[in-house]
Symmetry: C2
Subunit: 374 residues, 2 copies
């Protein structure tokens, strides 16, 4: 299905606090993410997907490292680092808040948690943005302390997730709003519990604040989940594509700006404060972006071989973009994928040809997403 090789575990790459649990419960494949092992398959993307949709699933995303910004200038620096208007974010609230460079290109696409008025976390995708934040803070003389704190997220995904979370942590879970969070200590384990996660299914993210308690937290959830169809899973490529969720470095990178990938809604050019990339974004907004990320549906029987690198996209024999992520969606019974295309050709309904190494695939462009949030 996906091309594989062997991965050697070495001390150069760190283990998550949940690593032993993921091995115990059958992790079969890993990748490396933020210098840590990230499990990416238990029984396989499709089997894991089905189990998630039938119960509740634990995902070790301890590799989502946090950039913690604290101090008198924490708000000012946080605002300088992202085009979101973070003044609209309250304490106890989270916000998708990408980091851009001065040309408007993505450096990372973290979720920000406003822990306190002078205390922020940015929960990173793959990339050492800690260095970016620290370099900027030093050079521009922001009065802050920036570290990577001892925080390791675990996601609880699926239709039974609310029931499991309430069973373990209490009925207040039912009241927790979307992108809201609460700090607590449960049975001696310090954590932040947020209602969010890397799918459109019902989900929670537990930000464990003591790496020595990872397996204990995992077991606590696992035991209470026995009658709720609990399983172990990983960030799932089928759920991601169905929902139109982006993967940094997979679907977009520093060569892309928010206008190209459907994230212009998060840019606030009208706010008074300056932020990195503001000038460049203003110009892109004026001229219009050059590329656009779109979905596509492939006209073929259920595919069993997926891409391990981008595949060229053609219209009338001319290259107009590339296809970056492809899966078979059981719910749609379709082969679906993401493409990034020259803006002139990025129109819903347009027929394209995707060049796999073996053959040409006929496909039609569609708007994202296929599924909205449950």
């Amino acid at each position: 299905m996906f091309k594989t090789s062997k991965l050697v575990f070495s001390p150069r790459v760190r283990k998550s606090p949940y690593f032993d649990s993921t091995m115990k419960y059958g992790a079969q494949a890993f990748t490396v993410y933020n210098h840590m092992y990230l499990p990416i398959a238990f029984e396989g993307p499709e089997e894991d997907y089905k189990k998630l949709l039938n119960g509740v699933q634990l995902w070790d995303v301890g590799c989502e490292r946090q950039v913690e910004i604290k101090g008198p200038d924490a708000e000012a620096l946080s605002q300088f680092l992202t085009p979101r208007n973070i003044k609209k974010c309250s304490k106890g609230q989270a916000m998708y808040a990408p980091f851009l460079d001065f040309k408007g290109g993505f450096i990372n696409d973290p979720v920000m948690l406003k822990i306190d008025e002078d205390h922020y976390w940015f929960s990173l995708a793959d990339g050492d943005s800690l260095l970016w934040a620290q370099g900027i803070a030093a050079g521009y003389n922001f009065d802050v302390e920036i570290i990577e704190p001892d925080v390791s997220p675990l996601q609880v995904q699926g239709p039974n997730s609310t029931q499991l979370m309430a069973k373990v942590f209490g009925d207040w879970i039912h009241e927790l709003g979307f992108y809201k969070f609460k700090e607590l200590t449960h049975e001696g384990i310090p954590m932040v519990i947020a209602r969010m996660g890397y799918s459109r299914e019902r989900c929670y993210e537990i930000f464990l604040q003591d790496h020595s308690k990872g397996d204990e937290l995992w077991e606590m959830l696992w035991q209470e989940g026995q009658d709720l169809n609990i399983s172990a899973g990983t960030p799932n490529v089928i759920l991601r594509l169905e929902a139109g969720i982006l993967s940094y470095l997979g679907d977009m990178d520093r060569t892309n700006n928010p206008y190209e990938v459907g994230l212009d809604w998060m840019i606030d050019l009208d706010q008074e404060d300056d932020f990195i990339g503001k000038e460049a974004l203003r110009e892109i907004n004026l001229k219009g972006p050059k590329n656009k990320l779109m979905g596509a549906e492939i006209h073929s029987d259920r595919m069993t071989v997926f891409n391990s690198e981008p595949w060229p996209v053609l219209i009338d024999g001319k290259k107009v973009g590339s296809m970056n992520a492809l899966v078979y969606s059981p719910r749609l019974d379709k082969n679906i994928c993401y493409t990034i295309l020259d803006i002139d050709h990025a129109n819903s309904g347009t027929n394209i040809v995707i060049c796999s190494p073996d053959k040409e695939l006929k496909a039609t462009l569609v708007d994202l997403p296929w599924f909205k949030r449950n």
Copy 2:
């Protein structure tokens, strides 16, 4: 020997320009390094090591990404980023030039290449130091352009490397000094050839400047190496440990400073120019470091199971440090390792106990390295 799992190839992680060649010639295992696949075994560390010592070997180190600093302030910024005195480096010369943070901790340990008076490359270990350099440059207002250029190193290692390089590129190779390099275009392939590499054996590093020509370059060397015992290999853990060479994130990280890992020789506190970490290093130098990296020899028969994470080191039952890297050296017929220890216990000849998950191992501390440069 080493604990392994499965690695899934996905478009999120990039392939090196030599990737197809490494697959063709039998790469069996990979890790991820700077968001790219790095092959780490063909026949296995020991078999690969023996082949290298009996001929010449190609290593795909395309994952060593370059930070290119260019412009009027290129020298000033490069100097600000490292404690080396880079004024001592001439055009056409390379220099090991780590990046430190303001506390003196390692952010990365690149080799710097002075391409021109206003043009530098820093050839990175694992970590997005591009973001660090760009953040610092923007904030401190250095007049430079900083990018990751299209440069992908390939190492040519082993006793027959000079003969192979001369056969392919010409007799001038014999005159190339240690840590010197030359820019050239050979059969339409632009590159920089340096005499250096990640071992103490005779070696060269080819900095390919056109990623589309990776396999062509590899084949060119492979064909000419047929009568020179050419093989495919990878950065080798046995050669590394024997030679006392460090691996960033494996042997030292941001919690370590140069005084702790035997790199104080590269610090120039007396230079007039300021650099990041200067004040902190001055203080550490005055007080003395708290830890020290040392070698150790384990008293046991040839070991076959190595560590995939640090193991605790004890003296008289008390934890005094950790063991980070362990292999069996065929040339020494010994199990050798690196330890990092509280400075009070870091003395050559001291007996220690290393706690593997299975049993306690008796060992004796020794000075590094076991082998000097050939």
